[in-house]
Symmetry: C2
Subunit: 378 residues, 2 copies
């Protein structure tokens, strides 16, 4: 009776789709990698998303398949499409999130602003790129990286030697992605929701702060963002969403340079850490929006509820005990803070929750969100 | 690891605890009456809540037991308490929600404003009550009534004859509750959250509109409510919550008379239809507040997010198809309306969902909420 969304992957992004779906009256079914994951509540199946039969079986009773991550192989995605399953985002869009070289090439075709980049297949080519770009570069494995993994800043080609060796041993061959080390003034993120039928909605561009390659803090909208920046980022998001055929939520991670240019850093085709503020700070959260967009329902209002929203991740957790042991302390000290936890065991550096604070005073909101989050990791 | 709440009863009130609990990181486990109920997602057990062993088994792995309804027998509640289970609200509080005669007597002890009332055991006593109260009265079965069931307006004792016959046949004996037919100008509801450790938070008093004994519409705060009314209703709610030892959410249904007195009509010791507006209209929804209060966590801010919030129930459903077939139409026509549905099959008069609208213009909000809800029942 109810509409049903099948989510491949049982992490916190799948988990956070459950609440808005349940409120609306949409059923979420999760194919989890194992038991006890964040989205356990809606885990209707446990299995390997690399296995075509497992995923086809999971998809049999749902209206649409979507994802907690971008790692489902193209062969599995195409098998779903061939079986008549609605898949959002689809394989043609997901390839751009799965392979950073394919993404760079497509964004170049679309004329999107990017760092200088090149596909490098050996140390000689990387050295040439280094020589042409001031002697330093970011080297990335095109596939499988996230949260800083598969990313290395190098100033000599020898520093990527192990990756080139691995490439040489890989029957598929391939190349590494070398990128200009952008001298950015800050990082931003632009989110866009897009329905299969084409309707799009943009969220205001936000400022993100990374620590050790992991998102630590988000302020929405990006402080000091003028109309020009807001519109440029929104326009860029819309062009990428449409140009890559993204359905569901798209996050475009951006560098802002000292001369106020914006350059595309990374893409994510799913709800994204940079949009967690919207749960408490926007009329329609990114998770509700993702649910609506993959079902091809009309999109919701993306307006902020308050002037400023701040999200601070809880990374790691308390030295002893669980996050729940700190609830009372945080709620007492910071009644304005909205606590979100993911049912994950604390481990150093692991994203186990976040805190949202919205209000009219940015300094207060930043202070409160940081203070509340820090009480979970003392 | 996570905190766990066991909810007895699988209806929409249990269902709507799932989203805020999941966001916070609290596990909800539901003992459902049968499969396929509103709270199916969190149904960890299916069984009869009248059965002590079933409920004890269900309660074994949870931190606290709470309820979707007030119908769990006292014997079962006491067995839980005797087994060392935290039960909120507890049996001593719940007796006042389970038996309207016990409630009337206790509220009288507390000096709360009430309609004239009497326990009547036969037609003669009811006729005496009618004669003393203008010839009309409301007669209620003290136990088991809800949404207008077990309630009858009579102008002659003969009209309750079947109920007296049933009483006479019942080995437990007992009486009916006769109440003055209050000439109210409107109905209100006051909600209070109370923790086991005593902390309380009040929501603003709301106006409720009933149709055929079922809540149809709620406006928060009650239009035209001045400080005196807001404070009087809050004070009354606080005194009842404390006086009856309620833990969790308490709703006090009130009559407002033409001369601006308020009289207690009914009590509910759980989240309540009159508080659904808080999901989208208050900083802390009644469902999050119930979760926090039964876990004895610090209570959240009950402030409205907007000047006005309006809730309109979806009663019955569409003539053909399911509620989900109307999502697109409603979202397009009324983007401000927040849709909530309960996964229940449409049936005439049945509460199957509601719509919340919040904003600064009360007329707009009422219009939009009614229009959006009506699209589900055309």
């Amino acid at each position: 009776m109810s509409l049903r969304i099948g989510v491949v992957g049982g992490g916190q992004l799948a988990r956070m789709m459950i609440a808005p779906a349940s409120e609306l009256g949409v059923e979420i079914r999760v194919l989890a990698e194992q038991t006890g994951m964040s989205a356990e509540l809606a885990a209707s199946a446990v299995g390997d998303y690399h296995d075509v039969e497992t995923v086809l079986e999971f998809a049999r009773d749902v209206d649409v398949v979507t994802f907690d991550h971008e790692h489902v192989p193209q062969s599995v995605l195409h098998a779903l499409v061939d079986a008549g399953v609605a898949v959002h985002p689809g394989p043609d869009a997901l390839q751009f999130a799965q392979d950073k070289l394919v993404m760079r090439a497509r964004l170049a075709e679309l004329g999107m602003p990017q760092p200088e980049w090149a596909a490098v297949t050996n140390a000689v080519e990387l050295q040439e790129f280094l020589d042409a770009n001031g002697g330093r570069a970011v080297v990335k494995t095109p596939r499988g990286g996230y949260d800083g993994k598969g990313v290395r800043v190098v100033s000599a080609a020898t520093e990527a030697e192990d990756w080139f060796t691995a490439l040489a041993e890989d029957a598929r061959g391939g190349a590494l992605l070398a990128e200009e080390l952008v001298d950015f003034s800050r990082e931003l993120a632009q989110q866009v929701a897009r329905r299969p039928s084409g309707e799009m909605r943009v969220y205001p561009v936000v400022q993100t702060v990374q620590q050790d390659g992991v998102c630590a803090e988000v302020i929405a909208p990006a402080p000091g963002a003028n109309e020009r920046l807001l519109e440029a980022a929104a326009q860029l998001g819309v062009e990428i969403a449409a140009g890559l055929g993204v359905t569901g939520m798209l996050a475009v991670e951006l560098f802002e340079t000292a001369d106020e240019r914006i350059l595309v850093n990374e893409l994510a085709m799913r709800p994204h850490n940079s949009g967690h503020w919207s749960q408490d700070g926007a009329v329609t959260s990114q998770f509700e929006q993702h649910v609506r967009s993959v079902l091809d329902l009309p999109l919701g209002d993306t307006s902020p509820r308050e002037e400023w929203s701040v999200m601070v991740n809880i990374l790691g957790g308390p030295k002893s005990g669980g996050l729940e042991d700190r609830f009372a302390q945080v709620m007492t000290a910071h009644p304005d803070a909205k606590i979100h936890t993911y049912g994950k065991a604390p481990r150093p550096g692991r994203k186990v929750g976040h805190v949202n604070v919205a209000g009219s005073d940015i300094d207060d909101a930043v202070y409160t969100a940081r203070a509340a989050a820090s009480l979970f990791t003392d």
